[in-house]
């Protein structure tokens, strides 16, 4: 998605050079959020979630199913897994994330799943049936959305997670507890403050062994334990690559010695970009709107760099300062959030009541840095403008 949006932004801001969009997956860009929901629950295909592409306007060359293996910054080319080399004047790194994989003493392969790509979702969907016993490792957004979708499909769900309260690290204890309670009401079983120490089975997963000695039988194990940035291909170039790709305020990639590369940008989940007004360390944000916002930004930056003065809405000296937003649907629970609640030193109920629909506000030194609600859409949307980041 990030790559596509960057190409669109380039064309809309007047860039008339050649654009190569290179992707490891064999598919044209598609929308990932439905993978944990509709794509598993309903008879949907790739066509239902593919982004519309206006090829006539985009004039881009798609190179699919071909991973970029290495970047040679000195010679301004990338080399793909096929061995093909592409020269560039500008490079936009938009390689996103991959699922983190666990390793166990009895490291069985069959019966284990993760969810990041369309192919992951298809493979999981083919194994699902009502009554199947599913263990989900991880109680973040993906884990909880999967729990809800699969429970609704009639699977028996056990969620195993190390935290005491799901989502507490992101949205606070009270919010997390509300989400947990609603899952429990739907029949999801939680095994919190536990980890999986080993798998049970000989040829395929037949169960998992928890850190407290409990054995949970299952046919399906889904690992939803976070993700890793796909940045290995950038190594060997003195680019600062600790926890993603460090960028400056314009999303230009930074070197280990602290200088920016004028022609190399990073967008989306892999970009670790600085705050524009706060003296806090640069951070990556894994929300759906960040690839869009950063891609649009970089398209304009490149077009301006190519032809200064040609981009109408370009403001010199402006810093990339997106408002992160995310949403999540789990059973009838619909979460919508803006800002960065994790920055807060204080969390308080703004509207509604726990147990029903409500909005929590997140403050840091008295300033609103985030809001999150269950339901109450219009009220959450109204508060968006009051957030200061």
């Amino acid at each position: 998605m990030g790559g596509l949006r960057a190409a669109e932004s380039l064309r809309r801001s007047g860039f008339d050079g050649q654009i190569n969009l290179i992707g490891a997956e064999p598919h044209l860009p598609y929308n990932r959020p439905p993978l944990s929901k509709d794509l598993l629950a309903k008879d949907k295909t790739l066509a239902d979630i593919a982004f519309p592409i206006h090829h006539g306007e985009l004039q881009a060359n798609f190179v699919l199913g071909n991973r970029v293996e290495t970047l040679n910054l000195e010679e301004s080319h990338v080399e793909l897994s096929s061995g093909a080399k592409y020269q560039f004047d500008y490079l936009v790194a938009a390689t996103g994330l991959r699922s983190r994989q666990m390793s166990f003493p009895n490291n069985l392969g069959r019966g284990r799943y993760s969810l990041r790509t369309y192919d992951d979702a298809r493979s999981l969907r083919d194994s699902l049936a009502p009554g199947k016993r599913v263990v989900i490792l991880g109680a973040g957004f993906i884990g909880l959305e999967l729990a809800a979708t699969l429970r609704t499909l009639g699977c028996l769900i056990d969620v195993v997670a190390v935290e005491a309260i799901p989502l507490a690290a992101i949205l606070g204890n009270e919010f997390g507890d509300e989400v947990r309670r609603r899952h429990v009401n739907e029949g999801v079983r939680f095994h919190l403050e536990r980890s999986i120490v080993d798998l049970i089975g000989t040829r395929e997963v037949e169960g998992v062994l928890l850190s407290d000695g409990t054995e949970l039988p299952c046919e399906i194990l889904i690992e939803a334990v976070g993700s890793l940035p796909n940045i290995e291909w950038l190594s060997g170039n003195e680019i600062e690559l600790s926890n993603g790709v460090l960028t400056d305020q314009t999303l230009r990639v930074m070197s280990e010695s602290g200088t920016s590369y004028q022609h190399v940008f990073a967008i989306g989940d892999i970009a670790r970009f600085p705050y524009s007004t706060r003296s806090l360390p640069a951070r990556r944000i894994e929300h759906w709107n960040i690839p869009i916002e950063s891609a649009k930004w970089v398209g304009r930056q490149i077009s301006h760099h190519e032809k200064p003065g040609s981009v109408l809405e370009f403001k010199q000296g402006e810093r990339f300062n997106p408002l992160p937003s995310f949403w999540s649907d789990q059973f009838s629970v619909s979460i919508l959030s803006y800002g960065e609640p994790t920055l807060a030193d204080e969390c308080l109920l703004i509207e509604g009541e726990l147990g029903n629909e409500f909005i929590m506000g997140y403050r840091r030194a008295g300033e609103l840095v985030g809001v999150a609600g269950i339901g109450m859409r219009r009220e959450v949307n109204k508060l968006r403008g009051e957030i200061r980041l």
Binding site: R5, E8, N31, P33, P34, I49, F51, P52, W288, N289, I292, S325, W327, D329, S334, L336, G375, M376, R377, R378, N381, R384
Partner: protein
Amino acid sequence: MIRVYVDLSKCQHYGQCVFEAPNIFKLNDEDKLEYAATADDSELLNVREAIDVCPMQAIKLVD
């Protein structure tokens, strides 16, 4: 004149489009999306932005 279509079976009423094209989209008293099916050409760029930011990818321009 442009023509806007929202697949209401996809729409989850997040209201992200409302910020991009407030003249076209709004959430009503029940937090459900309402929209204008036709609009002036001057709204084209706003509607395109709304299409991009729709989490459910439910918005289309109709030729």
